[in-house]
Amino acid sequence: MVNLDKFQKDIIKAAKEFAKGEFEPEAALEYDGEGVFPHEVINKAKELGFIGIHFSEQYTGAGLTYFEEVILSEALAQVDSTFGISIMYSVVGAEPIFLFGSEEQKSEFLPKVIEGDEIICHALGNNYDFILGANSPCIRVESIQDGAFILNGELSNVINGPCADWLIFCIHGSQIHRDEDFCIFLVPLDMDGIEIEPKVKGLGWSMCPRANIVFNNVELDKTYFLRNGYIGKKELMRFWASEMIIIAGLCLGIAKGSLDKALDYVKVREQFNKKLMDFPVTREKISEMLIKVLQARLITYNAAKALSNTTRKTSWKKLSKIVSQVSMAKVSSARAAKEVSDQSIQLLGGYGYMREYHVERFYRDAKCCELLGGNIHANRELIIQNAV
C-alpha cells in the first residue's frame, strides 16, 4: 500500500523517539497557553539533524526529499502537533533561499538556519491573493530612488515574525512594470523603518508566534534582493507547493495522533458496563477515522513523491499538474485532520474538551492548517486552474 524503505522507516522511528523524549506534556500545556516558541526543543531537533533534511548536503542539509520531510512531519505531529508544527515551520522561511537564492546566499544562510540559531520568516502567503485574481499589494512601492525601492505597507500574520532575524517577502511585479514577475527580498528585521507588531495567540499553532510587519519608508537596494531580485510565477508556485506538502504531512500526524489517543481511550473507558469500543457506534466511528487517515496519507505521499521529482527546469504544464496534486493533498489532509480530531474529542466525551487530555489541541491545530499555506480557497483555485 504505502511502501517505505528501511531508511524511511528509521527516520520515522527516530523522529518518534525524539518527540516522545522531548515533547513534554506539561511544557506543551504551558507553551500552548502562553504562546511560547520552543527554542530549546528546536535546537535539539537541529542537533539531531531533523531540520532541513531536504536541503542539499553542501548546505548542511541531509540531501533528502520532500517525501522524507512529509513522513518526518507526520511522525512529529503524531506525538504532539503543536511542537511538531513549530519544529517543521522553523525552517519553512528558509525554503525560498534554497529554491531561489544565489549560490552565496545558500552557502551563507542555510547553515545558519539548519545548524545555527537564526530564524528566517517568510511572508509569501501574503501573495496568495494573486491566484484568486485579486491584487491588492500589502507592500507598496512608493518610489524608486537611485535603484533603491522605498516601501510602505504591512505584511500580516507572519509566522515566527516575533522571533525571526530575517524576513523574505515579495511584491507583485505589476507595481514596477514587470507583470510576469515577483520582486523578492531578503531583509534583516532590525532594519530602519521595519516595525514588528506581535499578534495575540490564535486558536492553534500556538508555538509559532505571529506578527504583523509594518514598513515605514523602508529603503531597499539590490543588495537585499534574493538572487537577482526576480522570480516568476512558476518559482513562487514551487515554494507554495513545498509549504503545502509540509502542512499536509503535519495534518496526517494530527489525524493519526488524535486517533491514537481516541483508540487508547475507548479500549479502557467503560459506560453501561461495556467498553466504549464495544458499542457499534464507536466501531463505526473508528473505522471511518481509519479510512480518512489512510486516504489522506495515500494522496499526500503520492503528491510528495511527485513534488520531490521537480526541479527548476520542470515545465509549467507538468508543475501545474503536480501543484494541483499537492493542493489536493493539503485540502484532503487538513479535512481529515479536522474531522478525525473532532471525532476524537467526541469519543473522549467531557475529557476530550479538557486541555490536559491533549486531544483538543490537535483539533485547534487542524483548523489552522486549513487557513495557512494558502487558505482552502487558494488551494482549491490551484486545483481548478489546472483542470480547466
Binding site: 467503560e270 459506560q271 466525551g349 467531557g350 474538551y353 479538557m354 486541555r355 490536559e356 485547534r364
Partner: protein, 235 residues
C-alpha cells in the same frame, strides 16, 4: 414570518436584556475569560435587573413568564459570544428542579435568592467514571436519621466555583437497583464536608467556572431531598 409567538412584552424583555449585555457583559468578557470566572456581583446585578429565572412565579419574586423568556435569555447570552455567565443553566436547568420538586419550605428558602442572583446554582450529576451512564454514579447519600450524609466526587460541574447551592445526584447505598437508588439532594456552599476543587482548564468557555466537587461526610438536613426518594429515573 414569526415562528415563535413572541408578544410585545417578550420583545421588550429582549431589548432590555440586550442593552444590559451591551453595557455590563460584553465589555468585561476579555477580563472574565482571562480570570476564568465571572464575578458574583454580575449575577446579582443581572438578577436585580430581572433577567434571572424569568419563569419563576411572582410569589417568589420571579417574572412569572413563559418559556419564551427562557429562550430569549439563552439566545441573548449566547449572542455575547461567551458562556461564563451561564444564566440559562441556573434559570432553566437547575432552578426548575427546585420549582418542580422542592417542598414549599425549600422554595421559600431558596427561590427568591435564585431570582435576585444572590444564590447561584449548579447541578452535579457527572462523576469521573459516570457520564452518559448516569445510573453508575458512586456518590452515596446515607440516611442517618436526622441527616443525609453524602460521600463522593463529581466532575465537569458548570458554575462549580461560583455556586452557592448545588443539586446533587446520589445513590442510597442500601438499595441495589441503581435505577431505584438515585435521588437528588440540595447542598449549600459552606456545608461542612463539601469542597470545591480546581477550575478545569478547557478548550474554550474559559470564563465558565467548570470544576470538580467533593463530598466527604457531608451532612445535609433531611428536608434537602428534592421530591420523593428514588424517583430520579422515573420522572
Amino acid at each position: 414570518m414569526q415562528i415563535l409567538p413572541y408578544k410585545k412584552e417578550h420583545h421588550e424583555f429582549r431589548k432590555r436584556l440586550r442593552e444590559f449585555c451591551k453595557k455590563e457583559v460584553i465589555p468585561n468578557i476579555p477580563m472574565w475569560e482571562q480570570q476564568k470566572l465571572v464575578p458574583k456581583e454580575v449575577w446579582q446585578h443581572m438578577g436585580r435587573s430581572g433577567f434571572l429565572c424569568p419563569t419563576v412565579d411572582k410569589r417568589y419574586g420571579g417574572l412569572g413568564g413563559d418559556f419564551l423568556y427562557s429562550v430569549i435569555l439563552a439566545e441573548e447570552i449566547a449572542y455575547t459570544n461567551h458562556s461564563g455567565l451561564f444564566a440559562s443553566l441556573h434559570s432553566d436547568v437547575v432552578v426548575p428542579y427546585i420549582v418542580s420538586y422542592g417542598s414549599e419550605e425549600i422554595k421559600q428558602k431558596y427561590l427568591p435568592g435564585c431570582v435576585k442572583g444572590d444564590i447561584i446554582t449548579a447541578v452535579a450529576m457527572t462523576e469521573p467514571d459516570a457520564g452518559s451512564d448516569l445510573s453508575s454514579i458512586k456518590t452515596i447519600a446515607q440516611d442517618q436519621g436526622d441527616y443525609f450524609v453524602l460521600n463522593g466526587s463529581k466532575t465537569f460541574i458548570s458554575n462549580g466555583i461560583n455556586c452557592d447551592l448545588v443539586v446533587v445526584a446520589a445513590r442510597d447505598p442500601d438499595i441495589e437497583d441503581p435505577y431505584k437508588a438515585m435521588s437528588l439532594y440540595l447542598v449549600e456552599d459552606g456545608t461542612e464536608g463539601f469542597n470545591k476543587g480546581n477550575k478545569l482548564d478547557k478548550m474554550g468557555m474559559h470564563s465558565q467556572d467548570t470544576a470538580e466537587l467533593f463530598f466527604v461526610n457531608c451532612k445535609i438536613p433531611k428536608k434537602n431531598i428534592l421530591g420523593q426518594k428514588t424517583m430520579v429515573f422515573l420522572c
